[in-house]
């Protein structure tokens, strides 16, 4: 049996890991809600965003926060272009094609990052070095920063979607594109903007994850775990996504400790079990159409 201290420590690591997954999954859910496309390359957007922060903050010497803002703007533009140049053309095609297309983006981003920044892991200097004492337990500050970033970002997104004119228009176009279009909402531009926001979130996630995972071209695979967290919670609802990601994040360190043989795959096992019992995730978002 684990001593109590370690249980708490694993729990805190789990919560922080879970918030990191939630931070990544937010981008998935936004794009899905707007266009019903699952961007399998989102993890790679995150990786690319992390590298972009490195270039702006250290390569150009702007410092962390201005660098983060610049990188967010650059990645947001990239996200906007991805939608307006490519994704817009393939609306209505079969899901298999769309999935494989986003997977292909992942390949392109990964090798582009490798060509620009090299294939070996790099580290990003962030203001959250060192360790913090929390209720008698020592924990890395970067892990607390991730939790903080997730909370702040969730509230910001909530305020944006519930209060601002643009956000309400986005909600409307995600619920019914045609009706939104008739109401004079520029649906196409909004969808591209959603992609831009998702890319910005990915960049923030990349920057905050950098002290934990290092900047590496293979970091993108963490996106798949975030995706399974989102699925556990029920894709399409933001509270469900956060709940699911936290669940996965907390279960993971404990199962890695107790069953080292299945290290790294416990998230997927949890997801399959949940899907077996509740095929739409814990919080359901689909409705059966009545004829």
């Amino acid at each position: 049996m684990l001593p109590f201290d370690d249980v708490i420590r694993l729990g805190i690591i789990g919560i922080s890991q879970g918030s990191a997954y939630a931070l990544i999954a937010l981008g998935f859910v936004l794009i899905y809600k707007a266009t019903e496309v699952v961007n399998f390359a989102h993890g790679d957007f995150m990786m690319f965003g992390g590298f972009a922060v490195l270039t702006f903050s250290e390569g150009l010497g702007l410092g962390f926060w201005p660098g983060l803002v610049c990188a967010c703007m650059a990645m947001g533009l990239a996200g906007y272009l991805v939608d307006s140049l490519i994704m817009r053309r393939i609306i209505g095609q079969s899901q298999a094609s769309i999935f494989i297309l986003t997977v292909a983006f992942g390949f392109i981003l990964r090798s582009a990052a490798g060509m620009i920044w090299g294939w070996s892991p790099m580290s990003l200097a962030t203001p959250f070095g060192g360790e913090t004492q929390l209720a008698g337990i020592t924990i890395g500050t970067e892990r607390i920063a991730i939790v903080g970033a997730t909370i702040v970002l969730c509230f910001a997104l909530y305020a944006f979607f519930a209060r601002s004119r643009l956000g309400v228009a986005m909600q409307a176009s995600s619920q019914n594109q045609l009706a939104a279009y008739y109401m004079g909402i520029p649906v196409r531009r909004l969808v591209s903007l959603v992609w831009a926001i998702a890319a910005v979130i990915a960049t923030i996630a990349g920057a905050f994850m950098a002290p934990v995972t290092q900047l590496d071209t293979n970091v993108g695979f963490i996106g798949i775990k975030a995706l399974s967290g989102a699925i556990v919670g029920g894709f399409g609802s933001i509270p469900g996504t956060i709940l699911g990601c936290l669940l996965i994040g907390v279960i993971e360190p404990f199962s890695d400790y107790y069953f080292p043989a299945i290290k790294g795959v416990s998230a997927y096992i949890v997801m399959l079990v949940v899907l077996f019992i509740r095929p739409d995730g814990l919080i359901t978002q689909t409705f059966r159409k009545k004829v």
């Binding site: 019903e36 490519i86 079969s94 292909a104 798949i224 995706l227 997927y268 899907l275 095929p279 004829v291």
Partner: protein, 358 residues
Amino acid sequence: MQVIFKTSYDQDINLLSKTGEYIRVTLVILLMLAAPLFLDVYYLSELGLLLVYVIAGVGLMILTGFTGQVSFGHAAFLGIGAYCHSILMTAGVPFIASIILTTMFTGMIGMIIGRSASKMHGFYLAVATLAFLIIIETVIGEWTDLTGGYAGFAVPELQVAGYYLTEIWQQYYLDLALALFVIWGTANLLRTPSGRSFLAVRDSELSARSLGVNVEWVKIQSFGISAAITGIAGVLLAHHLSYLSPETFGVLESLKLLLMIVVGGLGSIPGAIFGAIFVSLLPVLLSLLRDILPGAISQQAGLEPMLFGLIIVLFVVFEPEGINGRWRKLLHFFETFPYYRKASFVRQKSYLKTERMR
């Protein structure tokens, strides 16, 4: 332009409806039969491997192309098939019994996955199958007693009914026979009520259900058949590789299968064949591209994945029907010469199909 004069109702469900198709298919089969006469050993074994991928592609095509269920985890069935067969052969089970047992086993696992998949929709299924693949890969790697783990597992020699088929051409004929059998069987399947209901479920679950199709059972069937066929491909692949390791059946292999059917043309059997040819030629193509590109770019490490990704993007954006669609357009051009018009294949106005309302 050829006008088909129908003299019987059966003509509507003929496997090949036009004379040209008969001639082409016969020629291709004859060419494949004669291949060992003029190909040397290396190309013959590559051709055998191509046929294995044709089988796997047809397997995935049944699920993704005809039933509309996207699976990212088909390499798992390939792996289960390969390992199950090798373990049975090592235990002394004869080849024919072993391949039948393996097919049944992978089919059963497919049906179990299909049972839970029949309730999921869209990308939940894609991610669930991806998770299934990762779990199977880990299980194969960790179950050292049975599979040899990451150290690998030696595949026993190919031995059918007491005869050792160690020559490449013998193995090639085995691949060819099974590939032809699978293609013929799938073509037949598509004109049975089950096959028709696969297509109905793909096009609209709602209308299929209204017409009395048991959607859940159709999905389970489709998963089972698809997994069984992929299992056969796994058996043959095992003999080609002759040494199995869990990494062979990873996410990349799954993506390769999916790439095959998307590039080949979703929803057609020739699509799976074209896709397999494309994937086999891809390394050659990539190295050719490397030569054409200027030195500063071609010297970069990691160029292959980028070109791989670009090819997919270009295909999906500019030719969603895949190579098979291109081929049909070409045929149409010659059949109706000089009346071909671009508008004959123009895409209908497409719109977003929502999944939230089912």
